[in-house]
Every structure is written in C-alpha cells, then in structure tokens.
C-alpha cells in the first residue's frame, strides 16, 4: 500500500484531520462505534523502555566507559594521588605491548584479507551449485564455526597438527619430516594462529556475503547478455561494482573479528603469544609492575580506537548496499 492510498482512505473517514496523523479514534461513517488505531498522541511509552536503558547503562556502558576513562588515570605510587595522564597510553605503545599490537594487526590483516577472498569464492561456489538441503547444512555449519567456534577450534588443530598431533606424528613416523623444523610450521606461533583463525574467518565471510551473492538478480546477467556483454564484461561492469562495497565491508568485519578474538588464541598458546587481547588479560590479572595498574585499560582503549571506526564504516557500507541487494 502506498502512502498516497493510505492517506486517501484515511481522509475519507475524517476529512478534518491531517491525513498523516490519523489520531487515536475514528468515528465510522455510519456511527456504529469507535475504531481504535494505535495512537500517535503524546506517549509515555518511553517509560516502558527504562528497564532496557538502565540495564545497558549499568552492565555495558558503565564498564566500557570506566575502562576508557581509567586509561587516562594514574595513581602516583608515592603520594597516592590519582590524576589524568597520557603515560598509560604511551607505555601501551612501547616494547612488548607494541609487539602485541603489531602481531594482532598482522594476524587480523592477513586472516581478514585471505578469509575474505577465499570466503567469497567459496560462497560463490556454494550459492551457484547447491540445493536446499545442502545450503541449510552448509550455512548452519558456517554459523557454528564463525560465531560459536572459540575454544574447540584450537583443540581440533592441536589434535591434528599440534606437537603430538595426528598429522605431525604420521609425517614424522612415515616420512621423517618434522613439521616444525623441516616445514617451518609452528601451530603455536603466528602461522599456526593464521591457519586456525581462517577456520572461523572463512565461514564468517561465507555467512556475510551469501545474501549479497543471492541478491544479484539473474535478470541483470540476462540483460547484459542480451546487450552483447561477455561474462567477463558483466562481472567487470555490473557484478563487481554492486558487490564491491559489500565485499569491502565484510573484509572490515573479518579484520575486526580477527583483531578481537580471544578464546582461540588463548586456548592454543596458553596465553603466551603476544597478542593485544591476551596481554590485556595478563595485565588485568596482575602480571604487571607497580604503578602500571591501568595499563590494561590503555590497551583496551587502543583496541576500541582501532575497532570502532572500522565497524562504523562497515555499517555505512552495509546500509549503502541494501539499496541494490534485497
């Protein structure tokens, strides 16, 4: 129903009222009784929303805000006076913490880009080939790995290519190849983390990009073909420009998910590998010099500063593409 037709029918009932504001009660033309509509008059409905806002304020905004606030606070060890300072943030950008940030960024970048490319191709292969049952099978499996993987993923890989893993042993026993020294593969180092992270990054890309691929209407390709376009020209001038913002947005999402991931890395490396989320844990559980208590908050602030702008761009890109792909 269009806006015009709705306004038209409404003004038949009550020509005196503005058509866009139907009011609370209409008298029917034959006077048979009032017709209740959901009212637009001054509403106190927001009162009903206060539990929600209070909950969010207490259990989400307060803790998060506190972290960002105490990132700039420091208690002087001698005088006991707490004051504003930038020193937490500057120590969080040095030494082992700088290494952590660098490692996290590298890991997120590599698994984000590779995950996005492989995921895109895989999603295309799935969308263009399967029937209903297989699609459901694959999409739920992808959802499990992307959203609920965490700890189990680490153990799948430890059992397969870890120090006493199945493949590691088979290679050593039958081929005399040491995964670590001969093939330079270390599951508990950055290559291992990349391999394991892709195990949830690729499914995440499949989940995010599949609706976009399904939204490419076959009619567009038919129209292009009828106008004499080759398949390459179709993808170059129609498919790719429509998908590009979506793929870019998905890659940003993957970057953030790789950057923020904690469980897999912690389970895999027992918290030993220098990644920023693992370092935050180490700092807030007290493994830190006196006077550096708020270092963890500074590290958290750095994470937020990196992740939030990217996620905002992701949202904007998503909004832009929904215009074409429905």
């Amino acid at each position: 129903m269009t806006a015009q037709s709705r306004a038209g029918s409404s003004s038949e009932w009550s020509p005196a009222r503005p058509a866009t504001d139907p009011g609370q009660v209409h008298e029917l033309a034959d006077g048979s009784g009032p017709l209740v509509t959901l009212k637009r008059r001054r509403s106190y409905a927001w009162v009903g929303l206060t539990p929600f806002f209070l909950y969010i304020a207490a259990f989400f905004i307060l803790p998060t805000g506190t972290v960002l606030f105490s990132a700039f606070r420091k208690t002087d060890a001698d005088t006991g006076v707490t004051s504003f300072t930038g020193s937490n943030v500057s120590s969080a950008l040095q030494g082992v913490y700088f290494t952590g940030i660098k490692n996290s960024l590298t890991l997120a970048l590599i698994t984000g880009v590779v995950g996005a490319l492989v995921g895109l191709v895989l999603a295309w292969a799935i969308v263009s080939s399967t029937g209903n049952v297989l699609t459901r099978f694959v999409s739920t499996a992808a959802a499990v790995l992307a959203n609920f993987g965490g700890v189990p993923l680490a153990f799948l890989f430890i059992a397969t290519v870890g120090n006493s893993g199945l493949v590691t042993k088979a290679l050593a026993d039958h081929f005399h190849i040491n995964l670590n020294s001969d093939l330079h593969f270390d599951l508990y180092g950055i290559t291992g983390l990349e391999l394991v992270y892709l195990y949830f990054q690729i499914p995440l890309m499949v989940l995010v990009i599949t609706p976009a691929l399904e939204g490419l209407k076959p009619q567009w390709q038919e129209a292009a073909a009828n106008l004499g376009a080759t398949r390459w020209q179709y993808w170059r001038h129609v498919g790719a420009p429509i998908l590009a913002p979506n793929v870019l947005g998905a890659a940003l999402l993957l970057f953030c998910s790789g950057f923020s991931a904690y469980a897999t890395a912690d389970a895999l490396t027992s918290g030993a590998f220098p990644l920023i989320p693992l370092q935050i844990h180490a700092v807030i559980s007290g493994n830190v010099l006196a006077g550096m208590e708020n270092l963890g908050d500074a590290l958290a602030l750095i994470m937020v500063v990196i992740v939030v702008p990217l996620m905002v761009i992701y949202q904007l890109l998503q909004r832009r593409t929904t215009r074409w792909l429905r």
Partner: protein, 298 residues
C-alpha cells in the same frame, strides 16, 4: 533478440547467452570444474581437522587400535559435571533474563515508541563492536570498586552478591549483554515478519485489552523468533570462554581448556561434542524457521 527467461535458473541463463549453445555449454563445464575444485579444497581444509581430531580422540595410545574411552568417561571426568551444570545454569539464566528484558522492550518499541528504534538498535548491536575482552576489563574495574570506593555501601553488598554464591550472577548479567545482538535481531525479524500493528488494532477493536492482546496475539505470533533468540543465546553462553576465564570461573569451555593441559583426548572429544551440539541446535532453529513459512499474512 532473445526473450528473457521468467525462471531464474542456471539453465535459463545459459540459453540466453549471446555466444550460442556451444560456447555456453563449454563455459558452463569450465565453471563446473572450477566450482568443484573450490569445494574440494575448502572441503579438505574444513573436514580435515574434524576427522583428524576424531581419529585422535579414539586412538588407543597404549595398545594401538581404536577405543572410545574418551567419550565413555566424559561424565566421570573430575570437574566435568560441575562445569557442565554451571554452563547449563548460566545458559538458562541468560535466556530467561534476556527474554524478560527484550520481549517487552521490542514490542513496545515497534508498537508505541518507534522513534527510539535507532537508539535501541545501535545499543543492542554495540556488544558486537566492543571486544569482549574490553568489556570484561571494565567489569573487573567496577567489581574492584566494591571493597574500595564503595566500601560499606549497599552497592558493595550487591557487587559481592553477584560474584560469590552458588550462581555467578555477574556472568549471567554480562552474558545478557553479549547475547543482545542475537536477541535483538531474532525478535526484530520476527516482529517485522508479522504485521503486529494490524493484529493489535484488530484485537483492540474486537474488545480485547492490552493484556489479552499480548498473551493471545503477540506472544503466540512471535513464538518462533523467541525460540530462535533463546537457542542462539544458549549456544553462545555454552561456548563462552573469554569473560568466564578472565573472571576466573570454570564453566564448560574453560573446563575444556583446563583439561587440555593434562588430557588431550578428553578436551578433543569434548570440543567435537560441543561443536556437534551447537550445530544440531542451529539446524533445529533453521528447520523451525523453514516450517514456519505459513505466517499470519494480512
């Protein structure tokens, strides 16, 4: 000029290719091979570790051959039942509180206060943006206020109560936050798919009060999406590791890691079981969603 095919399928597409039947069939075969290759390589990458882990978990390291003791002895493992029960409790608690909080909020939002929708949506999706480790760092700071800045106040008693005791309420309260994006999306999709405005107006016009409308119209028509939200939240809580391990509790996921220090086979088998159970749960949701294709359509 070739006519457009009304049915959108691969066959219809190929027939309209300008290049003629010979080229298009060759092209199709080539895409078929490419597709097969992609599926094969990804299949190996994704199924390999699963098969490897399963094989690892049933290996008999002492005598050689195969044995299923890692699965048979899951329930008798030290600490397992405590961790499992804790996760169950956390899951149920989280589901109940988040539904209690969000179902009225979402209904109100759509029926009476639509102008708050952007605000609520943004707030609900924020936990996806803020890394959980940042949230839990903040929770740690706030909890530490109890014995310091807030000493002697009722708030200290409150902060104490949610940390100690049989149920770690602090986890449930934070898990409700972590599951908000899922709850919001499920309920939002459910509410959009039925025309609740018309249904509510119809109910009110037939003389029902708001109570009757809620109980007999709104909630039944949202059954599927409420179930969706519940299952998703439960699955998320069941596998949650970050918050629980940093706050030093030991539910299921933390137990898997702790067991991994000494008993690799046990953690591997538990990991496989946990993935399998989550997957079955999601499959169930997807089936529920598919069956509900006969919606109230006005």
């Amino acid at each position: 000029m070739v006519a457009l095919t009304p049915t959108a399928g691969a066959g219809g597409l190929a027939a309209t290719q300008a290049g003629g039947p010979a080229t298009s069939s060759r092209r199709r075969r080539r895409t078929g091979i490419g597709r097969g290759l992609v599926l094969l390589i990804c299949g190996i990458y994704f199924i390999g570790p699963l098969v490897g882990a399963f094989w690892f978990s049933i290996q008999d390291k002492v005598h050689g051959g195969v044995q299923f003791s890692a699965y048979a002895h899951v329930f008798s493992a030290v600490g397992f039942s405590d961790a499992f029960m804790l996760s169950l409790k956390l899951g149920i608690g989280t589901v109940l509180i988040s539904l209690l909080l969000m179902v009225p909020t979402m209904l109100l939002l759509h029926l009476r206060a639509p102008k708050f929708r952007p605000v609520v949506e943004t707030l609900c999706l924020m936990p996806l943006v803020i890394p959980p480790v940042v949230l839990v760092a903040g929770v740690g700071v706030v909890l530490a206020w109890g014995p310091n800045q807030l000493a002697g106040t009722p708030l200290q008693t409150f902060l104490n109560a949610i940390q100690s005791g049989k149920t770690p309420w602090v986890l449930i309260l934070e898990y409700v936050v972590l599951t908000l994006p899922f709850t919001y999306r499920s309920l939002d999709a459910g509410i959009r798919s039925v025309d609740i405005h018309t249904l509510t107006e119809a109910g009110l016009n037939l003389g029902a009060g708001w109570g009757t409308v809620t109980m007999r119209i709104l909630l039944p028509s949202l059954r599927t999406s409420v179930l969706n939200a519940a299952f998703l939240s439960f699955a998320l809580v069941f596998g949650e590791y970050t918050v629980a391990s940093i706050l030093q509790y030991q539910p299921f996921a933390v137990f898997i890691v702790a067991a991994g220090q000494t008993e690799g086979q046990l953690s591997t088998s538990l990991s496989l079981l946990s993935l399998l159970i989550t997957w079955l749960l999601l499959l169930l949701i997807s089936l529920l969603g598919g069956r509900n294709s006969t919606k109230v359509d006005i």
